[in-house]
């Protein structure tokens, strides 16, 4: 097993009296797909926002390449090679693929755009991901399908030399064929040595593409296990809280006593 690129130790976050993350330990490895699953409100988004630097954790330690880091801004996270592809893809419909991939970091020569070089790098990146569904890199994004948009958004992260790509529900709005495309892309990413964190509700996707699965239940990490070492029934049980691995105890969500969940 290689060293983890990201290691979270006892990460906590609360909003007022509600603790959303109650001490999460998570490890993400280069070249592996780590699926992050859990029901609504389990704390997936909060966990991701911490890694993206959007919403720093209250307590706990973040180790990137074994070095302690405080991720307090998206820029810091990006500088460390962490890129998040959000569910609403943040592409500009009126711009073409190259323009979108280079938005915010266009390449210039003599003060004006070097369109040739940008086009070359964009198509090289797409090619390195074995993308075959895009006919031309000069197509406007408005003419692309959902799967193709997801592809462009992911390629954008790759172009930024991301070492960790966090995908937030990448297949949620896609049909069967397009889901397949995106999952292929996820595989290709990890083959290139990128650490992929895949947030998904779809266990079929998870079992198809992930190496590791981490299950969140009410702000706790119930389990992080290799996909080959677990079954779908177990994972469903962990997600819904009807099953727990041996030695795991569920904590209360609120510091205000409700007398309920023990």
């Amino acid at each position: 097993m290689p060293d983890p690129i990201i290691e979270l130790v006892g990460v906590k976050k609360s909003f007022g009296p509600v603790s959303v993350l109650k001490g999460i330990d998570l490890r993400v490895y280069p070249g592996k797909v780590t699926a992050l699953v859990g029901d609504n409100g389990a704390g997936k988004s909060t966990l991701i926002k911490g890694l993206a630097g959007v919403q720093p954790y209250d307590q706990g330690e973040v180790l990137i390449d074994g070095v302690h880091r405080d991720l307090t801004t998206p820029r810091e996270a990006s500088a460390l090679g962490i890129e998040v592809v959000y569910q609403d893809l943040a592409l500009c419909d009126n711009l073409d693929i190259v323009q979108n991939m280079f938005l915010g970091r266009e390449e210039l020569s003599f003060g004006t755009f070097d369109e040739g070089r940008m086009e070359k790098e964009a198509s090289d990146t797409l090619r390195s991901l074995s993308v075959r569904t895009v006919k031309s890199v000069r197509q406007r994004v408005s003419s692309l399908s959902g799967g193709q948009r997801q592809t462009v958004a992911i390629a954008r992260a790759v172009l930024k030399k991301a070492r960790v790509v966090i995908l937030d529900e990448p297949t949620a709005a896609l049909g069967v064929a397009q889901t397949e495309q995106v999952l292929n892309l996820v595989r290709r990413l990890s083959e290139q040595g990128v650490a992929v964190v895949l947030i998904s509700h779809n266990l079929a996707d998870v079992f198809e593409v992930a190496d590791d699965v981490a299950v969140l239940y009410l702000g706790q990490l119930v389990a992080q296990v290799e996909v080959s070492q677990t079954t779908r029934d177990d994972v469903v049980g962990y997600i819904t809280g009807t099953k727990t691995p041996p030695g795991f105890t569920v904590q209360e969500t609120s510091t205000i006593a409700t007398g309920g969940a023990e």
Binding site: L89, L91, D93, G111, S123, G146, G147, Q148
Partner: protein, 422 residues
């Protein structure tokens, strides 16, 4: 891998090849262009069509329309609206609007003329102060829209009302000042020497050919395909022929007495220079790209690290400053300044942009579109004027053309399927 119908287009190139969409010979280029037009990306095509139809119509209806004199006159008539349209594109591309662009120019001109005529301030300084009014007004609008977050419609509507009052206060009720600066009167009332018209055309051909050559060289260096060179030659040839005819016609003597009146009006190179600089800014610099990005998806631009507020602020500054230039054209033509300068024209400016194919929703359109749209409206005004029809008809027709243009735009967008399809 088979995919949904939208992805299932037959592969044009080898496995895994991703094209630039510009490969192939002339036939492919024309087919590609036609396909873009059919899918709703029509640009200025309807406006150009309208220009041709209107030109033909008025040529038949009026013996004066197709004369050298009227042609030159049209250039001067249209200049104000063309410049205002260009100014407005910068904010329309953001999906914003500037209803105060006209009166901003009015206030700037009022201040300029009062400072110059009444207080004896030298005209270059007074004019500079006028442009500073434009810059400052844009800065103010930009601050309220980008920083405070008030819709631009509201901010500029407020300024539209307020500045009418300001112009009245500066000039005085019923006041009228003659423009007594020959250098400024000249920009709308003088012509270039005959040779300069040809030189202008030569410079345009050189710039157009030069940028094409430069772009192609950079693409070749990067190892990506170029459009077939035939396209460049056709473009240059078209420019040479159309430009040649225009210059030739304008170089004919159109004087009605013994004094020869000939040459391209001075206003033409001025407008073309601003058009070229603005287009360069929008097409080839980060600032321009970010204007389009913000108009397309503000949140995406923000997440990509674009300084959204700063870009928007500058767009409003450019709009208001160019609006002052437009007002200067108007004043130079009329020869006097009163408190009503710029009151009525702003909506015509917006109409010019929309007729030319600039989207009111932001992100789509080019400066030249607004210029062509302004020409359409100017031709309507000019032609109906020659026919001796009342001004009411002019407004009705202009309004009709605007709605027609918006309809064409909406229909073409329906045809292209919007784009939010998943």
């Amino acid at each position: 891998m088979t995919t949904s119908s939208k992805d299932a287009a037959p592969p044009l190139m080898g496995e895994g090849m991703i094209g630039s969409g510009i490969e192939g010979g002339l036939g492919d280029q024309i087919r590609g262009w036609w396909q873009r037009v059919r899918s709703g990306d029509m640009g200025a095509l309807p406006a150009i069509g309208g220009l041709v139809v209107l030109g033909a119509l008025f040529s038949i209806l009026s013996p004066f329309f197709l004369t050298e004199r009227n042609f030159a006159n049209l250039m001067n008539q249209a200049a104000t609206l063309v410049m205002l349209g260009i100014a407005l594109v910068f904010v329309l591309l953001l999906g914003e609007i500037d209803l105060s662009a006209g009166v901003t120019g009015g206030v700037a001109m009022a201040l300029f003329v009062v400072l110059n005529a009444q207080f004896g301030v030298p005209w270059p300084l007074a004019l500079l102060i006028g442009f500073a009014v434009g810059f400052g007004t844009g800065a103010l609008i930009g601050f309220f829209v980008a920083r405070v977050g008030i819709p631009s419609f509201v901010v500029t509507l407020g300024l539209f009302l307020g500045y009418q009052g300001l112009a009245l206060l500066i000039i005085g009720d019923g006041g009228l000042y003659r423009l007594q600066v020959p250098e400024l009167v000249a920009i709308q009332n003088s012509n270039m020497p005959v040779w300069a018209g040809w030189a202008l055309l030569a410079v345009m051909l050189l710039i157009s050919g030069g940028t094409s050559w430069w772009d192609r060289r950079r693409r070749t260096r990067a190892g990506v395909p170029n459009r077939t060179i035939t396209v460049v030659w056709i473009k240059l040839a078209a420019l040479a022929v159309i430009g040649g005819v225009v210059v030739y016609v304008l170089n004919q003597n159109r004087g009605q007495s013994v004094v020869a009146v000939e040459g391209v009006p001075v206003i033409v190179p001025i407008v073309l220079t601003v058009l070229w600089l603005g287009t360069f800014l929008l097409d080839r610099t980060k600032f321009g790209r970010y204007i389009y990005a913000i108009g397309g998806n503000k949140e995406a631009a923000r997440r990509s690290g674009v300084k959204v507020r700063l870009v928007m602020w500058w767009a409003f500054v450019i709009c208001s400053t160019l609006a002052v230039l437009s007002a200067l054209f108007s004043v130079a033509r009329v020869g006097s300044v009163d408190a009503t300068v710029g009151r009525e024209i702003v909506l015509s400016g917006v109409a010019a942009a929309v007729v030319g194919g600039v989207s009111l929703f932001g992100g789509r359109g080019r400066l030249v579109h607004a210029a062509i749209g302004a020409l359409v409206i100017a031709v309507i005004t000019n032609g109906l004027g020659l026919l001796g029809l009342p001004a009411g008809i002019n407004l009705l027709v202009t309004g009709g053309v605007l709605i027609l243009a918006a309809t064409v735009d909406a229909l073409s967008r329906l045809r292209s399927g919007g784009g939010s399809r998943v």
